[in-house]
């Protein structure tokens, strides 16, 4: 109990810390939202009028306190750029980004675990070599480049997928999946490479330990040694990697969304930053920070399930 309370407090503190820093950072860097909205032809009166309307002419502590008060009540204010509530903009975009990240995560796990096992089992053989070369490539190719390559091959040459059309899940789950599959693959490839290499190493480490010899000597089949004993232990560090990389997936999806023109967080965050749309940036950073911290929390909890020896203090 004690542990969970403390974890929760750290979690909240971390998120608060992120938000405060974001607020401060964005007020320090130059740029004026009103000016950016209105551009070069605006008169000084038009700019002043808009500044007052946006409330950005007030003292900074007042703005921050106001925002914080609202955020506690889940009211993140109005976007400066879109004159719509931040929460609504986030709600519209979030499903795209999160489903893209989750899909990429599913692909990563589905592809990486068998590949990692295969590589460990065929250590030093041709299959291991091929997988190793594959993961090297996967690590070297950036997602956005991969995305462009996938569009060129599957979108333009083969015409299997349509490019730059996003269909929401509510409209057609099949088409939604179809529009997210290519970007999810682009996003998953480097992750698969990381997880495969990691899993292969931990599996090989475990295979050299005493308990494996014991298991083998008591006559267990190699298959059950691997799946019942070794894999369980080898997965522990792998889950850590997957957990940590979930944040990377989120960050990566912001970039990949741009390549595939998916209406997710990526374009919204970039627009928000480019326009100094403070409330929108803060709302989005808050949400992303919250997700990442929570995922880490869940990863910690999962250790306990996988290995009851680990005590949470």
């Amino acid at each position: 109990m004690n542990y969970y309370v403390r974890r929760l407090l750290t979690l909240l503190l971390t998120v608060f810390f992120v938000v405060t820093l974001t607020f401060a950072a964005f007020r320090i860097i130059p740029g004026n939202p009103a000016l950016t909205i209105l551009g070069t032809e605006a008169s000084d009166e038009q700019i002043a009028l808009l500044e007052a309307k946006l409330g950005i002419d007030r003292p900074l502590p007042e703005q921050f306190a106001d925002w914080l008060k609202g955020a506690l009540a889940l009211d993140f204010g109005q976007s400066l750029r879109f004159s719509e509530p931040v929460l609504k903009l986030i709600q519209d975009r979030f499903p795209v980004t999160i489903s893209l990240s989750l899909l990429a995560l599913a692909i990563t796990v589905a592809a990486a675990v068998p590949l990692g096992i295969a590589a460990a089992r065929s250590k030093g053989k041709v299959a291991d070599m091929i997988i190793s070369i594959g993961t090297q490539l996967g690590l070297a190719i950036p997602s956005f480049w991969m995305g462009i390559a996938l569009i060129l091959v599957f979108g333009l040459a083969l015409r299997w997928f349509s490019v730059s059309t996003y269909v929401p899940w509510s409209e057609s789950p099949y088409l939604a999946l179809k529009s997210l599959l290519l970007p999810a693959i682009a996003l998953a490839v480097p992750q698969i490479a990381i997880v495969v290499r990691y899993l292969r190493t931990t599996l090989l480490e475990q295979l050299n330990l005493d308990y494996v010899r014991t298991a083998r000597s008591k006559g267990l089949k190699e298959r059950s040694v691997l799946f019942q004993h070794v894999l369980r232990n080898a997965l522990l560090p792998v889950i850590t990697v997957v957990g940590i990389n979930f944040g990377e997936l989120l960050a990566g999806s912001l970039v990949v969304e741009q390549v595939f023109t998916l209406p997710g967080f990526g374009s919204l965050l970039i627009t928000a930053i480019g326009n100094r749309d403070y409330p929108l940036v803060q709302g989005m950073v808050l949400l992303i920070a919250f997700i990442v911290v929570t995922v880490n929390f869940i990863v910690d909890l999962s250790y306990r399930v996988l290995d009851p020896k680990i005590r949470m203090k």
Binding site: T22, T40, L156, S164, A251, G274, V285, N296
Partner: protein, 533 residues
């Protein structure tokens, strides 16, 4: 507790991500060239029906259809009176109309008005409204609607004009349902083009959510950051216009993604496509390319040393080889300039100025020597990083100036920073920018007035101020033209900036489309576009 460090790792990564993105700048979100009003003082009285010229009528004309246009940035407001960004104007052009409307040649023709007269002293404008013009909600347009709209812009009730162009309005009257009389405080020949501003229904305050205009297309749907859709307005007063049933403006900020969308057929029209991309498309698509009434220039901060010395400014003008820039950066698709006006405004354009500073390295060096800078100097050229075109230009210029011993450091700046620090704060040495097209020369040249809030050149010349002020007040057409030409000559002689070119605006279109008209304005006119079979 396990792995607390990881949280901070994550926190820092998120922060870094946001900071890096901030520093790199958004690739296009700042593409707000602005163009609050189109202009051209056409013949003071005109009754002609709008001409509907179709450009390439090949193959049969197909009625209806739906077109997707890719636009690089989101809209600032749907309310046409609040919208300032040019990227918004180009979309709303299809939805709203004013008393007057510009055509593809940059001339004004009557739209909601049928005819108008200007009093001899240039202070009273009398408009007769066209009959049969309807709003998208089905109501007929009356003089009261016009009065409401222009009062709103002039801030008659609030005392705060929404548009600076309406500052000079003294009163707006609607003596009967079909007549509007606008009185100005003083003669202002550039005012007429302000009357292209949108007319909205009397008392209507919901324009930002559900805009209602009189244009060929009516508003259907807007999803912030994604798209704005408009559909055919069947009651439009010009018969046979528009042809298309539906137009979607899809916001695609990344130029590569735009190109891919065009290639895959998701997008039919890609305006402002880069010249290199256009060449890459080959002949699978139609291409339109024409000057766009934009002035690309290198500005000096004239308050700063050594640019306060005209000799230094002239030396740099002699050292910059504009032809090389046009060939190298615009791949030949640009029109050389000598002052702050594009030849698109043929009537006012002063010819010959583009050769004022024909490239002459020796002369440039000797001018520098006369200014006491024999060994050259170091300076910083700030470029808005979201405009690749300007960034490329900066690189060529840095290399050219190197030949006369001027060491140029290129500083890329994010658009939001450019606006605040360089444009408003005037804190820079050299910068490159494109100053964009109005139809009235005064609206373009007034940035150079000594007291203009947007005089980011810090240019000060009494002679120039007097010339431009008398030009805008001059009722006689020929005399006014002469004064505007003189103003351009003064800028060239003072080497107020290095005028480079009016880069062509390129548009790539689906081969099945016809009837697209390119404007010397920030406008995408879809009303005449149609499919062929």
């Amino acid at each position: 507790m396990l792995n607390n460090k990881r949280h901070y790792l994550w926190v820092s990564i998120i922060l870094l991500l946001s900071l890096v993105t901030a520093a790199c700048g958004s690739s296009n979100s700042g593409g707000n060239k602005n163009n609050s009003s189109g202009k051209e003082t056409a013949a003071p009285s005109a009754t002609a029906e709008p001409k509907q010229e179709e450009n390439k009528p090949e193959g049969g004309k197909v009625e209806g259809g739906s077109v997707v246009v890719s636009i690089p940035q989101d809209l600032d407001y749907l309310d046409p009176h609040l919208a300032v960004a040019a990227g918004t104007q180009e979309v709303l052009f299809n939805v709203f109309e004013g008393l007057l409307k510009p055509n593809e040649k940059g001339e004004l023709y009557p739209a909601i008005a049928e005819s108008y007269e200007v009093s001899p002293d240039g202070r009273v404008y009398t408009f007769k409204l066209r009959s049969g013009v309807k709003f998208h909600n089905g109501n007929a347009v009356t003089a009261e609607d016009v009065k409401f709209s222009y009062d709103r812009l002039a801030g008659t009730a609030t005392g705060k004009p929404l548009s600076p162009a309406f500052n000079s309005v003294e009163s707006i009257e609607a003596p009967d349902a079909a007549t509007i009389i606008i009185k100005l405080k003083e003669n202002n020949t550039s005012f007429l083009t302000s009357l292209t501003a949108a007319v909205i229904p009397n008392g209507y305050e919901d324009s930002n959510k559900n805009p209602i205009g009189t244009g060929p297309f009516k508003f259907k749907e807007y999803l912030p950051g994604q798209r704005i859709s408009v559909e055919k307005f069947a009651d439009y007063y010009v018969k046979g216009v528009p042809v298309l049933d539906k137009v979607e403006f899809r916001i695609i900020t990344d130029p590569e993604a735009s190109l891919l969308a065009l290639k895959s057929g998701e997008v039919d029209i890609y305006p402002r496509i880069g010249t290199e991309k256009l060449e890459e498309l080959g002949d699978k698509f139609q291409a339109v390319s024409a000057p766009q009434n934009l002035v690309q220039l290198v500005t000096f901060n004239i308050d700063r040393k050594p640019f306060n010395d005209i000799k230094v400014r002239q030396a740099i003008n002699y050292a910059v080889n504009v032809d090389e820039i046009i060939a190298g950066v615009a791949l030949g698709k640009g029109t050389k300039l000598g002052s702050n006006l594009s030849p698109v405004l043929a009537k006012y354009y002063q010819e010959g100025l583009e050769d004022t500073y024909a490239t002459d390295i020796e002369k440039a060096k000797s001018l520098l020597a006369e200014a006491g800078l024999k060994d050259g100097f170091e300076t910083t050229l700030s470029v808005p990083s979201n405009y690749q075109f300007h960034v490329d230009t900066a690189q060529v210029i840095a290399q050219q100036l190197g030949k006369i011993g001027v060491k140029v450091k290129i500083e890329p700046v994010e658009w939001a920073v450019w606006l605040e620090r360089i444009y408003k704060g005037r804190d820079y040495e050299l910068t490159i920018i494109g100053l964009d097209g109005k139809l009235d020369p005064y609206q373009i040249l007034n940035k150079y007035l000594s007291d203009s809030p947007n005089n980011f050149f810090n240019y000060k010349s009494t002679e120039y101020d007097n010339t431009l002020q008398s030009a805008v007040a001059e009722v006689d057409d020929a005399k006014r033209v002469e004064l505007y030409k003189k103003a351009q000559t003064i800028l060239a002689q003072d080497a107020a900036a290095v005028y480079i070119m009016d880069p062509n605006l390129n548009v790539a279109l689906n081969k099945k489309l016809a009837g697209y008209k390119q404007y010397p304005l920030y406008v995408q006119d879809l009303s005449t576009v149609y499919f062929t079979n």
